[in-house]
């Protein structure tokens, strides 16, 4: 094989301008959505709790993830459990992002968003449905939440349902604390839980 002159070889593999690629990628996300090929749209949102990952299917918000969970790992989990057709497509998450910003700005106490609870099944899903009824600025205990389900004695199972809540903040698992008043765990870390309860108490 004849070797390729360096300048020719460099020219053949020259990097493309990022601006063109950004424009093409944005166009791809839009067209994919129009053609119903966008199974999971996501974006990130800067918040007082750090960078949040928001992801939605065509049914609604399916995942909110904290930076500590590793956004790449969460996207891979979505590819595995929902669909690998995952694209950065902020448009579908405009409303969710705006409502979360209002929430952090103390201008919103309830979310009005379609949710897709497919990442929680069985009893965990029942717990999340009950959790949606725990109002802003109030708390309940794991035992109290269990009492609202079909298995009022399943306090530990309620704890794990909260710990694996796929849509924290919007489904307010941070409002569930221990019966003795101690905080309990949180997917976003104990400091995040304290911050949220303080925000809602203010």
């Amino acid at each position: 094989m004849s070797p390729v002159p360096t300048d020719l070889s460099d020219a053949l593999t020259s990097p493309d301008d990022p601006a063109t690629l950004d424009r093409l990628r944005a166009r791809l996300a839009g067209t994919a959505d129009d053609r119903e090929l966008l199974d999971v749209a996501y974006r990130t949102l800067d918040s007082p709790l750090g960078s949040l990952l928001l992801a939605a299917t065509d049914r609604g918000l399916v995942r909110v993830a904290f930076a500590g969970e590793g956004h790449d790992a969460v996207l891979q989990e979505l590819a595995d459990r929902v669909s690998p057709r995952v694209l950065l497509a902020p448009g579908r998450l405009d409303t969710a992002a705006r409502e979360l910003e209002e929430y952090f700005g103390q201008a919103r106490s309830a979310f009005d968003l379609p949710l897709d609870l497919r990442l929680a099944t069985g009893f965990r899903r029942e717990v999340l449905e009950q959790l949606r009824g725990v109002a802003y600025g109030t708390t309940t205990s794991y035992a109290g939440l269990a009492a609202r389900t079909h298995s009022p004695r399943a306090v530990r199972a309620v704890g794990s349902a909260c710990a694996t809540n796929p849509i924290p903040l919007v489904i307010p698992c941070h409002r569930v604390i221990h019966s003795d008043g101690t905080m309990g765990g949180y997917r976003g870390g104990p400091a995040a839980k304290r911050t949220l309860l303080a925000l809602e108490a203010a």
Partner: protein, 170 residues
């Protein structure tokens, strides 16, 4: 299936988007490269869930780009006004890919142009290039070598004209 782990498609676009754009520009010219790129990734997105997790993603994308580029060229020829000498692949300035080079690649015969794009621009081995073009790996190698030889006859001159000294190869 838990054994099959396809990366989120965004990662595929991130990793291969620039290469596919260069390939499209080399094969169909800058003017319709962006449409070819978009159609390639839409088609890939549609088929993606069925892709075996151990597939060569780059070869798969270039194969789709090859088909989409041909579609775009055919559509363009249908729309073209039949006059005496319409340039088939107009050279339009392309940011990132040398304008002179794009023009010279456009002037190559189809097989040579495609072989150069898939081997030298996309970096595919010749057996993968042969899978896309049909024929043998040896034929793909010859087509790419002929294409490079033709480009080399003109390209160092244009580089020198721009003040970039053309390097001789060992």
């Amino acid at each position: 299936m838990s054994a099959q782990r396809l990366a989120p498609f965004e990662e595929i676009v991130e990793r291969h988007g620039a290469t596919v754009l260069r390939v499209c520009r080399a094969v169909v010219g800058a003017e319709i490269a962006e449409d070819a790129w978009s159609e390639t990734f839409l088609s890939a997105l549609q088929a993606y869930p069925q892709l075996p997790a151990d597939a060569n993603v780059e070869a798969w994308l270039v194969t789709i780009a090859h088909r989409k580029a041909l579609d775009q060229l055919r559509a363009r020829r249908r729309r073209a006004v039949p006059t005496a000498h319409v340039p088939e692949r107009p050279a339009v300035p392309a940011p990132g890919l040398d304008t002179e080079l794009v023009a010279e690649i456009a002037a190559l015969p189809d097989k040579q142009r495609q072989a150069v794009a898939y081997h030298y621009v996309a970096g595919l081995p010749y057996d993968a290039v042969a899978d896309i073009l049909g024929g043998t790996a040896a034929a793909a190698r010859r087509a790419a070598a002929d294409g490079i030889a033709a480009l080399r006859r003109t390209y160092p001159t244009t580089a020198a004209e721009r003040g970039t000294p053309a390097r001789t190869h060992r």
